[in-house]
């Protein structure tokens, strides 16, 4: 799957579950935590979505902010995991 497509799916999920608006958008590098879009429970929602949607399983050591704190980081990490 192309990074672009991954990014699109994540953005869709974010809009539906956190931004609640189809038109609103997030900067690719905007910190999800620092901007307050997601709180600690929200992170769990996001991780469950990623595991399910991309058919992945994250290891403990992978669940660090460096992999999940922005759309860009998530895109890169998912691409790496899925071998794209």
């Amino acid at each position: 799957m192309l990074q672009e497509e991954i990014g699109k799916q994540i953005m869709q999920f974010m809009r539906k579950n956190f931004l609640f608006d189809e038109k609103k958008t997030l900067g690719e590098n905007e910190s999800l935590i620092a901007s307050g879009v997601i709180d600690s429970t929200g992170i769990l929602e996001l991780i469950s979505f990623l595991e399910q949607n991309f058919n992945l399983k994250f290891e403990d050591h992978e669940l660090v902010a460096e992999n999940f704190d922005s759309i860009e980081q998530i895109k890169k990490f998912i691409s790496k995991k899925t071998g794209n």
Partner: protein
Amino acid sequence: MCGIAGIVNLSPAHDPPSLPLLRAMAGSIRHRGPDEFGVYRDRYAGLVNTRLSIVDLSTGQQPIANEDESLWIVFNGEIFNFVELRVELESHGHHFRTHSDTEVIVHAYEQWGDDCFSRFNGQWALALWECHKRRLILSRDRIGVRPLYVSEKNGKIWFGSEVKAIFADPSVERRIDPRGLDQTFTYWSSVAPVSVFSGVEELPPASIRVYEKEGKKYEKIFWRPSYPVITAGNGGTRKRMSMNEATEILREKLMYATKLRMLRADVPVGSYLSGGIDSSLIAWMGRQAKEGTFRTFSIRFEDSEYDETRFQQLMASRLDSSHSDIVVKRKDIARIFPEVIAHTERPVLRTAPAPLFLLSSLVHDSGFKCVLTGEGADEMLAGYDIFREAKIRHFWSKQPGSKIRPMLFDRLYPYLARSPQQGKGMALQFWKRGLERAGLPGFSHEPRWTTTSSLKRFFSDEIRSAVSSENVPSPLESLPAEFSRWDPLAQAQFLEVVTLLSTYIISSQGDRMLMANSVEGRFPFLDSDVMEFCNQLPAEYKLIGLDEKHILKKIAKGIIPDEIINRPKQPYRAPDAVSFLVPDAPEYVGQQLSENVLAKTGIFDVKAVRGLYEKCRALGSETAREGVLSNSDNMALVGILSTQLLHTQFIDQNISHPPGGEIEFTTTVDRLSAPSH
């Protein structure tokens, strides 16, 4: 304990206040004092009082005046040291007609002027009227236990214990103040002098405001929480007394504060029991102060995660009290929530006030008018998690790269340690935000304020642009000069008192829920002497390592059961958003969150709220655990719903004219028809 309200015309151009309007103002707050209704009126002023008779049942009627009837008062609250003050005032030649604390205030003002208020140990909101000089003096107690709102326009002043008394005058415009909403969705409440209503100010705690004729006015703050200044020599604290000495002194001061609150009442005083250390200790001290049956009251929850029944019963049996409780269910919270908001008069982000409304109703139905509670201990002695969290973040900030330092969070939030790694690294990221700002004012509260501020994304464009164009005052703009020289814990305590204790804990969860059912709360931890002493204690006597309220636990040892002292602190909470997501939720929930009503109110982004509501509904159910909703979603849904309810009740409708709210004055001093002085 009472409600007060009034109108003062600074300009002679206005007509004298009308009696029907003064009756309507009193009627709107009759729940604060259903026993007697008093009015004073002259050409320029009308003052009303609704009385809940607790002290001096036979002669304490208000309004009360000085010897020559040139100074009149309406008063809500208690001055607990009135007996001592009276002796002092009598030695200065003042003559008393009653045995009430109200009359003491009048003479104290004559004797000491504005300086009298710092001599009072109590909880008050009052208005003094110097009829010859045409001066109005308004004042509130140190913490703002008793509420007071004021509005002024074209040389006319309205004041009232509650906003609804001011809105009882149909000529007062009723509009939402976006600045108050912005503060609510940052600090959890508007912060005085801002309220959520345009043109209505909340008089700040510990203030005196004086209006004089020809539009002159001034305001003084006579007290603020103050803590020891750190200097190079004292290592941060003044260790003038040992821990053991301090424990003994605080024990005595608390005993005395509790005794004053038990005995200075001409009706019986009961006590709340939450199951925690604060109320248990206060109840025990109350029990010691007076012989006879002792009454205690508790909230239980059907939801086991909030329930503290075991500890309440343990303490009730230790006290051998006559104990009553209520079991609160989710649907009870949903059922009474509109009424709760009618009394808080501000939006809330948690439903926690609702069970307290039901509890005061139980107290009222049990024939009690007055209760002690443990409120204030967490602020004075560092009981809340936010203090421990700030301490860990401070410690971490010294070595931000450390993997070991943040592990302390596992001790603070054991669920982090229990949960698989999932989320933990991310949760730490949350607390790591702003770590570089350690040492700057507001550091302790930044995580809370940032999280809460994110809810503003639900604001409509209109509200968003209104607040961006208006300057929203921040508590950080008006800090005491020495703030940054206090211990970090003291800084956090100060902010907690100013932004949460005064605005939410003692108001929305305190006075408002108690007085809704005509019950007066008395708070020994907020005794002025106890507060001063606690504030001067070294930080490590309160928070030693991560052990909160350390000194209080030492006092409690041997008095209250060890199981209560040693249990992990359980913050008082109630089921939040899930209360409104049950299948048979009251109709108003769906209505308030419908596209139509949201659009009409105009405060929130309709699409965003609909999205949130749908998401919450999909997750919530009769049995859903609270944890299915994130903290943000929970606060957002409760905050939005309460704001909507507030708008409906105060702006669309006018809550100030409740059916059955008509009253007749039982004490009338009408000087309008009498020859003027």
